[in-house]
Symmetry: C2
DNA sequence: CTGATACTCCATAAATCTATGGATAACAGA
DNA sequence: TCTGTTATCCATAGATTTATGGAGTATCAG
């Protein structure tokens, strides 16, 4: 009899975990979750970013909400969705790592679009910390500004990839540039680095993106005050703490 | 045009990640994966452990294999399945953590069956290392012997929960006992501790199970040579190194 | 109040996924 | 080779999930 109870309990347990699995069974939901690990967004913005119709995007978001992986905040007429906690981002990171490690296809795709493991060696977090402290490098956040505002490496300069070419002049050509983006599956930084190198600048990608940085327990700054003029020395944007 | 290519590439990417998600959308597959993170098993054993018919279990395992999360090894007439790498276990761990953190239901279930966060404070890995080194505690692996054989904390004594009552006499009543099992979602260690305490012994659970221990980069021993007579001082099963 | 905006909800057709019995295949042992 | 064991494969009925158009809601600006 007790066994029955135990068995029931455990079955329920895995059923609960499968609720989480249900979220990541659909490619678009994985994509949505990935976006939400960078910054909160309105339904409309999410639909646009993923190419979904509004009603479809909303439906997916409901599924995610029922699984408690996302939470919402209403602001006037729009609703902003966000990841429901650090564990969610950790899970998404683990999913991505697993994909890269086990699915050859993932690596192939990444390589095909230029972000492959083969492309230029990346800078480790430790090395970045080291060199940024001594002012040897500029840390460039090439994600969209909203994501920078939601959280970025202290001292990093926001320069979204889409504006990179137009704003090349702002970069000090004597310093090496370390660009970062959303993570190992993101193309922004690799593309930025390609562009920068084509311009004759020294540039490399950070080993991974902001979520991993945060998950490593390193400080994260928030807000849009780009230390545009000062070189990135990690001092001016101190306020942002892990969360 | 290039955008098309990129968009296609990225869509494929999330589709690949969703292949992984597909595995954990079904409760039984989560359960199977959880078991496989402890030790390899035959299809029959897995079917029995999860209460599935053989053909159903096999079908689930095929799904998992297609997603490359498990690999097989044939031995005579039976086929042994195993997790396809450390990333798989890490992913399962992340899934469990997310479930515990975000789904109140998970915690409720755990508490209902006695493994809840409320039950006795657990021993941290650091504390265990500390105290085991000085021989103050006995480390007890209460999982089935096959799992102990597949990997255990160096120096731990194998005493499966099902044999605990019968073999209580083997335990030195002057030492504190630290029991561990499969992880935070597993009941074995909490139950063992309850039993031990009822017998008047000092006993606590380790904060989590072997997978987390391994993921923390700590050494893992393999084989069935239980240091039955000698107290667990982490010396005799030395051979097992990280992996 | 009215209209506009940004979402959510609902019904439904089409696509997928599951469980399972029975056939088939791989292997060990006699 | 013949038999028993284990596991995979296959077909299929039944259950779920998905996309989407359009109706219904909440909120804001007049």
């Amino acid at each position: 009899m007790e066994y029955q109870i135990l068995a029931g309990g455990r079955a329920d347990l895995y059923e609960q975990l499968a609720r989480v699995g249900k979220v990541v069974v659909h490619p678009k939901r994985v994509e949505l979750l990935d976006l939400l690990c960078q910054a909160e967004r309105s339904v409309e913005a999410l639909a646009a970013a993923t190419g979904l119709k509004l009603s479809t995007a909303s439906a997916h978001l409901q599924v995610m909400r029922q699984a408690r992986l996302v939470e919402t905040r209403r602001e006037g007429t729009r609703v902003y969705y966000r990841a429901a906690g650090e564990e969610v981002c950790r899970f998404v990171t683990a999913l991505g790592d697993l994909g890269r490690a086990r699915l050859a296809e993932v690596d192939q795709i990444l390589r095909a679009i230029g972000a492959g493991s083969g492309s230029a060696e990346r800078v480790t977090r430790a090395e970045l910390l080291e060199r940024a402290r001594s002012g040897e490098v500029v840390v460039l956040d090439v994600r969209p500004v909203e994501e920078y505002a939601a959280g970025h490496i202290p001292g990093a300069v926001s320069l979204p990839l889409e504006h990179l070419e137009a704003r090349l002049g702002e970069l000090d050509p004597t310093l090496e540039i370390v660009a970062y983006c959303r993570g190992p599956l993101c193309l922004l930084a690799p593309e930025a680095v390609a562009t920068l190198r084509a311009e004759g600048l020294r540039a490399r990608c950070l080993e991974d993106g902001l979520p991993e940085w945060r998950q490593a327990g390193l400080p994260v700054a928030a807000g849009t005050d780009t230390p545009a003029t000062a070189p990135a020395d990690g001092r001016e944007t101190r306020p942002g703490r892990p969360r």
